[in-house]
């Protein structure tokens, strides 16, 4: 018997603890995370079946942006199921996407959103009654989610700087002169990432543009970074003007006393001390 007397989650310290509590009570709930970027966690019988966040593409984005289904077909499915309770069944019944394929997309979006949400700490959360969401998977235990997030964070940990910082860094192509040749040998997947790297887009933006997972795009970018084909753009946030107290600049060096000007000696061709290019005959 589920104890409904107290609202779950009020005493939980963090999201994993909250999910573990909902799991032990086998509850079907929706958890809304506040903060930036924020997100929504959907639980059925204590297991997580979907997660959505503006920081990573959801199932709908993955289906539409990757070109798997068209906008018209998607609108038709939404119109056929106005409550959005049976979207997954509708998609498979109309043969727009295979059952196994939709399960893979649903799982990849779930773990990707979990990874994206793990990069920032939520301000707070609210546990509500379940709301309809597009999913097709048997549900994931909180332990598996936590283990997969750790695995992903470790995979990206070899880069300098934090993983969260990497996720919001604008990426740009390296010097164009280095590109030809090396690009042709790359798999099409990496070439697509290169095409979408324009100096303005972050890994998240590239993931949305391609209809791929944030983590997958970050792994590809890591490889392109290692190959020297992309680099991070100049810092995005404008630098705050320095408010440090001004220290008097070093006193202007007194003009050197009677040092004679450098003179070119016949037969010797040493570079000028000022660093100007030497004149080679």
């Amino acid at each position: 018997m589920i104890d409904e007397s107290t609202e779950p989650g009020t005493g939980s310290r963090n999201i994993p603890a909250l999910l573990a509590e909902l799991r032990s009570r086998k509850q079907s709930r929706t958890v809304r995370l506040t903060g930036s970027p924020g997100g929504t966690l959907h639980l059925r019988d204590g297991l997580v079946v979907a997660m959505e966040t503006p920081a990573a593409p959801n199932v709908e984005s993955l289906l539409l942006k990757s070109g798997r289904i068209t906008e018209e077909a998607w609108s038709a499915v939404c119109a056929a199921d106005t409550t959005h309770d049976r979207l997954a069944e509708e998609l498979v019944a109309q043969e727009l996407v295979g059952g196994g394929e939709l399960e893979i997309i649903s799982l990849s979006a779930l773990f990707d959103a979990a990874f994206a949400l793990s990069l920032s700490r939520p301000d707070g959360w609210e546990v509500t009654d379940p709301v309809p969401v597009l999913y097709r998977n048997p549900g994931i235990t909180p332990e598996r989610l936590v283990a997969e997030i750790s695995r992903r964070t470790e995979l990206l940990a070899d880069r300098p700087g934090s993983v969260a910082e990497f996720a919001r860094t604008r990426m740009q192509l390296a010097a164009p002169a280095q590109l030809p040749g090396a690009v042709g040998a790359l798999p099409a997947r990496l070439q697509d990432v290169l095409t979408n790297t324009d100096g303005r887009r972050t890994p998240r933006d590239i993931a949305f543009a391609l209809g791929r997972g944030l983590f997958a795009v970050m792994l590809d970018l890591r490889r392109l970074l290692a190959l020297g084909l992309v680099q991070s753009s100049a810092p995005v946030a404008p630098q705050r003007p320095s408010t440090a107290t001004r220290t008097p600049s070093a006193p202007v060096p007194a003009p050197p006393a009677a040092v004679p000007l450098p003179r070119r000696l016949p037969g010797r061709n040493t570079p000028a001390p000022t660093g100007t290019p030497s004149e080679t005959p």
């Binding site: 070109g67 295979g98 059952g99 893979i104 799982l107 773990f111 048997p138 997969e148 040998a185 791929r212």
Partner: protein, 116 residues
């Protein structure tokens, strides 16, 4: 039971296949596992090394399969193409109960059914 588990279950009905797992070829995420899958833990990494090194060695086209063989087993990793990032179908094959050609043929057939 999920559609993927059903499809993996069908693969396991093949003589000599002791375990099967479906992984994401890019992220390494496991979408489904059935039977003995202890050998497929690092399949994503192994396939990635094979893919990268073969390309560096001048091989053209995409990776199809990686087969690692021990005295008693084959660890077969098939790359399954689809719209979007490819998948890896990994299977543990008992060398005493089947041969690699049969196993590959059956696995390729099951790979096609996985996404339906």
């Amino acid at each position: 039971m999920s559609s993927l588990d059903v499809a993996l279950g069908d693969a396991l009905k093949t003589q000599g296949i002791g375990g099967a797992a479906l992984l994401d070829a890019v992220t390494g995420l496991s979408y489904g596992e059935l039977g003995d899958v202890s050998g497929s833990q690092d399949a994503c990494e192994i396939a990635d090394i094979a893919r990268t090194r073969l390309h560096q060695a001048g091989a053209e086209g995409d990776l199809e399969s990686v087969i690692v063989t021990t005295a008693t087993r084959h660890l077969v990793t098939l790359q399954v193409s689809r719209t979007g990032d490819p998948l890896l179908l990994c299977a543990t094959v008992d060398r005493n109960r089947t041969n690699i050609t049969w196993a590959l043929r059956d696995l390729a057939r099951h790979a096609d059914d996985l996404l339906r």
